[in-house]
């Protein structure tokens, strides 16, 4: 993503500390066929370097700022992915990391932070409690909390997701983007990125509809959009999509404005629908995403069914995190199968029984 350095809040003597971003835009023809549309793309930040989520982008720009301001300790309030990204990049750059997370986070996300040597503070409460504490921690300690006192630098990193989409479409803007919403920042930053590329004359101006995706169990922004509220109503999150479980999204008002002004919409889906959508994306495109990506894929399907996304329009689905981080959420779908002896007859018998089961199911 550093190829866009001139468009990011960096100094002129900036040297890229590490590789970040530059993820594939997958032409998702099988998924498109399944959903009944023609031009569907998946922006695949499930394979973002180094920590397998789009949060690597925001931490990239935030840590450059942290070093410039002389912070020795960096941190964040996180639903998991951000903690992974802070821990990984802080380790690489020789900064101390201290991250704050809700106590009930997925095991894999905690492990993916701990392995880099970061200090982890688990909070009894949800993300909104963690965030409140971090606002106070930033007040008290001389630490660079990437999404608190380094936030202006952090949030600009999200723009690179949008720049890459436009470049990978051949310097064109799509008709629609479907974006997962937690705090609500990413959707506004993709819009900002597109606007900047238009201003620079790198892409032709055209209307782009912004669609926001949430889990029904934590849907303050989509609820606000659907009910036409002036202000969203905060919620107590209850969903398997923990990386989107922010009940009081700070950028919610901006996300709602962006969606409305672009002529887009917001939708939400249930936990079982999230699991189905994770499987759908994996089975059609070979992309294994976490629960948040299931939300985005499932909401895309819903928007197509509602006729809000047209069959001939170019649509980009923003997949922001990796499925290996939330295997707990889908483990029940795939019970462990019986092991067989390492003999050909055993395999033949196994195959026969499978065929019998398949025939019975028909």
């Amino acid at each position: 993503m550093w190829r866009y350095a001139e468009l990011l809040p960096l100094t002129e003597d900036f040297r890229a500390p590490n590789a970040v971003g530059g993820t594939p835009l997958v032409a998702a023809s099988k998924l498109a066929a399944r959903l009944g549309v023609r031009k569907l793309y998946v922006k695949n930040d499930a394979v973002c370097f180094p920590s397998l989520s789009f949060k690597d982008r925001v931490v990239g720009t935030a840590l450059v700022a942290a070093r410039r301001f002389g912070f020795a300790t960096v941190g964040c309030s996180s639903t998991g992915n951000l903690a992974n990204a802070v821990a990984a990049q802080a380790a690489q750059q020789g900064l101390d990391a201290c991250v704050f997370i809700p106590a009930d986070l997925e095991t894999a996300k905690v492990l993916n932070t701990a392995v880099y040597g970061a200090r982890i503070v688990r909070i009894n409460g949800n993300y909104d409690h963690v965030n409140r504490l971090c606002a106070q921690v930033a007040d008290r300690f001389q630490w660079g909390l990437v999404n608190v006192n380094l936030r202006p630098y952090y949030s600009e990193g999200s723009k690179t997701h949008g720049y890459e989409i436009a470049e990978q479409l051949g310097w064109r803007l799509p008709d629609n983007v479907v974006v997962p919403m937690a705090g609500g920042s990413l959707i506004t930053k993709i819009a900002k990125a597109f606007k900047e590329l238009v201003t620079l004359g790198w892409v032709e101006e055209k209307p782009v509809k912004f669609f926001g995706a949430q889990a029904t169990g934590c849907s303050p922004i989509s609820d606000g959009v659907k009910r036409g509220l002036a202000r969203f109503e905060p919620q107590k999150p209850n969903t398997i999509a923990r990386s989107l479980a922010i009940g009081n999204p700070a950028d919610g008002p901006f996300a709602m404005k962006q969606i409305r002004e672009s002529g887009g919409w917001a939708e939400d889906i249930s936990d079982p629908e999230i699991v189905d959508a994770i499987k759908l994306l994996a089975e059609t495109e070979g992309v294994f995403t976490e629960t948040a990506g299931g939300v985005t894929a499932g909401v895309t399907q819903k928007l197509i069914r509602q006729g809000r996304i047209g069959a001939d329009e170019t649509t980009v689905v923003c997949i922001t995190g990796n499925g290996l981080k939330t295997t707990d959420a889908i483990a029940a779908e795939f019970p462990v199968t019986e092991a067989i002896a390492p003999r050909l007859e055993a395999f033949e018998a196994h195959l026969d029984s499978q065929l019998t089961v398949a025939a019975a199911a028909k």
Partner: protein, 91 residues
């Protein structure tokens, strides 16, 4: 009821650097009105033109966001802590 309002750093330039303000109030609304009467410069950062608590200001009564407690009409008891925490958005 005697309660304590905790003031975030961003607001302390309007409170002469005061980090905490003790007052006596029966509801959150009364406590906020008492605070902004004492520090008038803070007033427009707490409420918008229509008199509503600003969208980017979160008000907590002890551990809970007051929007889950029925809003600023919710009542206070002795020793309650009222926390003002600005949302950190945008950038």
């Amino acid at each position: 009821m005697p309660v304590t309002i905790e003031i975030p750093t961003a607001f302390r330039r309007f409170t002469d650097g005061t980090p905490k303000y003790d007052c006596s109030a029966a509801t959150i609304a009364e406590a906020l009105n008492d605070l902004t009467a004492r520090f008038p410069a803070l007033s427009r950062h707490v409420r918008d033109e229509e008199g509503q608590i600003r969208q980017f200001l979160n008000v907590y009564l002890n551990e809970e966001d007051i929007r889950f407690l029925g809003g600023e009409a919710c009542s206070l008891k002795e020793g309650d802590r009222v926390l003002l925490v600005p949302s950190i958005a945008g950038g």
